[in-house]
Symmetry: C2
Amino acid sequence: MEEKKHMVGGISRKTLERLPVYHHYLEGKFAEGTETISAPMIALDLKLNEVQVRKDIASVAKTAGKPKTGYAVKDLIDDLEEFLGYHNVNQAVLVGAGYLGRALLSYKGFEQYGVEIVMAFDSDGRKVDTKIGGKMVLPMAKLENLCQRMNIHIGIITVPAKAAQEVCDQLVAGGVRAVWNFAPVHLNVPDHVLVQNENMAVSLAALSKYLYEVQKKEEPI
Amino acid sequence: MEEKKHMVGGISRKTLERLPVYHHYLEGKFAEGTETISAPMIALDLKLNEVQVRKDIASVAKTAGKPKTGYAVKDLIDDLEEFLGYHNVNQAVLVGAGYLGRALLSYKGFEQYGVEIVMAFDSDGRKVDTKIGGKMVLPMAKLENLCQRMNIHIGIITVPAKAAQEVCDQLVAGGVRAVWNFAPVHLNVPDHVLVQNENMAVSLAALSKYLYEVQKKEEPI
DNA sequence: TAGATTGTTAATCGATTAACAATC
DNA sequence: TAGATTGTTAATCGATTAACAATC
C-alpha cells in the first residue's frame, strides 16, 4: 500500500525533473507552429533516449500518441501543466532576505512550475516592510501566525547556518510540510515534514573536480 | 581506456557529492575533540548506509581504517581536502551580476570546496567597476582576453536566457572548459566543454508536487 | 501497403544494500 | 579471547536502454 519513497505521484523523481524540460521545449515548438511531434524528435533535440521520452510522456499524458504521427503538442503541454500543478499553485514563504533569498524572491521561474513565493521574513528591521521582487518582507514574529492563517505548506530557508534550525522549528510550528533548505546544516524535523537540502557548493565542486581530473590526464608528468 | 562518463577521477558523481558532507561533518567532530570515528557512527549521524560510508571513504582515504577503532578523523579530513582540491584551487569567472549572480559572488561556501570565483562580468555599465562580494565586476569586452590571460577554465552563467548562448560562446573562446549554467536554455558547446545545467525551479517544483500528492492522499473526496 | 512510430516487455547498467570473512 | 569494525564480494533495487510486436 505504501508508495516507495523515491516515487512522487506514481512517477520517479528523475522523470519529474525532466517534465519541466519537456514543457519548456514544447512551448517553444508550439510557438513555432508545430502541431504534432514524435518521441525520436524530442529525444534528438533534448539529447535524451527516445524510449525514455516515451515513458516519461506515458506517465503524464491523458491521450495516447499515434504511430507514425507522434503526439499532439498542445495536448502534451496541457497534460504537463496539469500534472505539474500550473493551475493548482502551492504557496511558499521564504525566510532570510540576504543575497540568495533576494535572488529566489526575484526569480521568475517558480510560478510557471506551480509554486509561488508569497512573502518573505527577515530578522533585520531594516529589511522589514520593504518589497523584494514584488513580495513583502515581514518580521520574524509574524511568521508562525501568518503561515497558519494562510495555510502555507512550503518554507524556504536562506538564513545563515546557525539560525536555520530555529527558523525551521518556527516554520514547522506554522504548519509547513516541506522545507527547501539552503543552509549547510542538517535540520531536525518531525516525520511528516520533508526536508530537501540544496548545497550550491557541491555542484560547482563536482564540476571543478571533473575539470581537475581531465587536466591531470592531459598534462602527464 | 576511456573512463566512463559518470565517473570522475575514479569515483562516481554520487560519491563525489557526498564527500563535502563527510568533510563538514568530520570538521565538526574534530572541533569537538573526536580523534577516531567508525563508519556506523558516521552513517547514523548522516542518515546513510554504513557500507556506503565505508566505500566512499575507501575511494579517497590513503590510510586504511582499523577494525574495532575506525578511522583517524584528522587523516580523513586531510585526505578529503586533498581529493577535493582545497590546496589546488580552480578559478572561475561569473557572467551576469543580477540577483543570482550577486548571491553566488557573495557565497562563502565555494572556496572551501576548491573553487574560487575571481571576478564577474556584466553588460550593464552601471555595475561595471563596482565590487560585489569583494570581486570586481568588469565589462563584457574584457571577458575573452582576461579568461585567456588568467588561464581560467570555469565559467558561471547567470544572465537572462536570451543572452546565455552568446555569453557561453565568449567563455569558450576564452578557453573555458566547464560551464555552470543557470539560464534555462540548452547551450551548444564543442565536445571538449562540459555544461552543467542548474535549474532552481525544478527542485522546488518537485517538492511542491510531492506535497500535492501527499495532500491528495490525506484529503480523499 | 510499407514503414515510421507507439507502447511494453526484457536486458543492461549503475548505485545501494546485504552478507561475511579478515583482523585488531 | 570475544566482539566490534573493516574491506570486499554477492544480491538487490531503480533507472536507462534495447528489442519487438502492434498499429496508424
